[in-house]
Symmetry: C2
Subunit: 353 residues, 2 copies
């Protein structure tokens, strides 16, 4: 899934070039490319599909020359994850009705690729043998209010020692609730990484999102033809805007979680990037070649290599420069960045977002 | 005088394009052009001379097409104000030995041009009739430690009711001293604007800076010839690096001050610019077309019109963007900017300063 616009990472992430296409950690590969590299250890390139906004198709083509244009699925509208997953599912169904599928966001960071691979192989082994929907749960390390949580039954299911029945999905909690989840020990972060067989997820669509199932089934003869884009355009216009969590995972009774540890972060915020970057002796996380700091600590600085930046007297700020944009903002208030981006859009127009 | 490099205004002011050449107040005219416009009300264009570093001659030519190249005096080295004033003085002496002269920096701001004109005409009238060196003194409005102070005898001289004998010149004082000067009432800021007849200043050079007098007198046949630049190059290499205040004004006994009020500022610091700019309702002084502020007050923001800047959670900061440079610095620490510029030069090279 590579359709997000990453507005919380503005101004580094822009609508025309969002987070998944950026080399946000300075590794030489974008987050999408890192995700591709990771998945390639599990699955051959010709079975990797990228669902993205149709305006990003060229970006995906450029960043992933290893896959064919038929594997890049363009969404005409942003309709959340359920239609996105339905599109890929019903398209794959034509060529491979017995597929076993892993679905993952393309803008997360995973530090331990080997542990990730092991987890996915384990989950796929389970979904191959059991009619089940598996989600990967991350042991929480802090009471984060930016994630959904998964409560699970603390005894593993009979035919696996790693998978657990999910009790409830919880939307983003408030801080007290998040603290309680953390201390209770039977809650995991919902990473938004799913494993299931095509048959199981298709059955779930049919049961819990029947209109969507009908829309994609009735026009399935268009997949792989020159009419696909037109069919998808019409279909998306009729699709509900709904997440797979809300539309299916929270309702289905065959949902299991695989508690995982592989250095995961959704890099959803500058704060989570801060956690994944090396810091200088004053705990400043600096990306940029010509940054000079005075009396400054605990900052996140992300500026292009060709800019000279002198910062003095800043404690706990985010300083980001990107092309013709500058953001200076307190780290603790970074949840407001989405609001600023909206204000910018309203007051200054689309060119800046 | 237009030879300064304005390092305290970095990064807006750069060595290659210093403060006097910038439209720092957003009026449409640079400080040099504003100074020219002001002087033009007192003196015809063909009697206005600009002394500047030779590397800025083209900048002056472009900004002041009204004057001829012979009126732009290029300094090969920075040697403070005494050699700068000597150069202009001894050159003017060739064509106009009876000249009455006003000397002014080109990077100050003067809000009330009419009051300025009146003061200069009054001073020139005095210097025409009396062998005297007149300096303009500004009634201090705060205990500023960045200026020199002039103490004066509180009874006007016999043949004028506006001019006062100077008792002492004082170098930049510490804060306690500056507070005392302010409260005593008989101290003025030294604005660095001088009026004198050519004969009087020449006599003063002869008496107090005799080597400099000899250097400029002995080669005076070179003025206005193709050898002028070479002559000046040799002469400057031999000149002492000294200010006119220290070299002459503090020593001469025919020095008078004209206490003045014309909305003067040397714009020596971002703080003084802040005082001369209109503020928004949160006391932010903003130059820039696309600046959005949240939870921010008492800041100076100076960014190009084509940059979008979002600032949040800043109180009392200077935020300046210029080309490929960014400075964020506490207003109260702006005296450190010179240090940062030196560090930049040492660590990152000349291209950034």
């Amino acid at each position: 899934m590579a359709g997000g616009i990453g507005s919380r990472f503005w101004p580094m992430s822009r609508t025309a070039h969002p987070k998944q296409f950026l080399d946000i950690l300075g590794t030489g590969r974008s987050l999408l490319q890192q995700t591709f590299d990771r998945v390639l250890k599990i699955c051959p390139a010709d079975q990797i599909y990228v669902v993205t906004n149709e305006s990003y198709i060229d970006l995906v083509k450029n960043q992933l020359p290893e896959i064919s244009i038929d594997q890049i699925l363009g969404e005409p509208l942003r309709r959340n994850t359920a239609p996105c997953i339905a599109y890929a599912t019903y398209k794959i169904a034509i060529s491979n009705p017995n597929a076993n599928i892993m679905v993952a966001p393309s803008d997360h960071v995973i530090a331990d690729d080997i542990a990730f691979e092991k987890a996915i192989v384990l989950a796929m082994d389970f979904t191959e043998k059991n009619d089940s929907l598996v989600t990967l749960g991350i042991h929480p390390s802090r009471p984060d209010t930016g994630y959904g949580y998964i409560q699970y039954v603390d005894k593993p299911v009979d035919n696996s020692d790693s998978l657990f029945k999910v009790k409830t999905f919880t939307e983003k909690p408030n801080l007290d609730m998040a603290k309680f989840f953390l201390s209770s020990g039977d809650f995991l972060w919902n990473a938004g990484i799913f494993v299931w067989s095509l048959k199981s997820i298709r059955a779930a669509f049919e049961k819990y999102l029947p209109e969507m199932h009908t829309l994609f089934t009735e026009g399935s003869e268009n997949f792989g033809t020159k009419n696909e884009a037109k069919f998808i355009k019409n279909t998306y216009a009729l699709c509900t805007n709904i997440s797979i969590d809300y539309g299916i995972m929270e309702k289905a009774d065959n949902v299991f979680v695989l508690p995982s540890e592989f250095g995961w972060s959704d890099l959803g915020t500058w704060g989570s990037l801060y956690d994944h970057t090396t810091k200088d002796k004053n705990d400043n996380a600096i990306v940029g070649k010509n940054v000079m700091m005075y009396d400054s600590m605990n900052n996140i600085v992300n500026v292009p290599a060709n800019k000279l930046v002198v910062l003095q007297g800043l404690d706990g700020y985010i300083v980001v420069q990107s092309d013709d944009l500058l953001l200076v903002c307190k780290k603790e208030d970074e949840q407001q960045i989405k609001t600023y981006v909206n204000d910018v859009k309203l007051n200054k127009g689309d060119k800046w977002v």
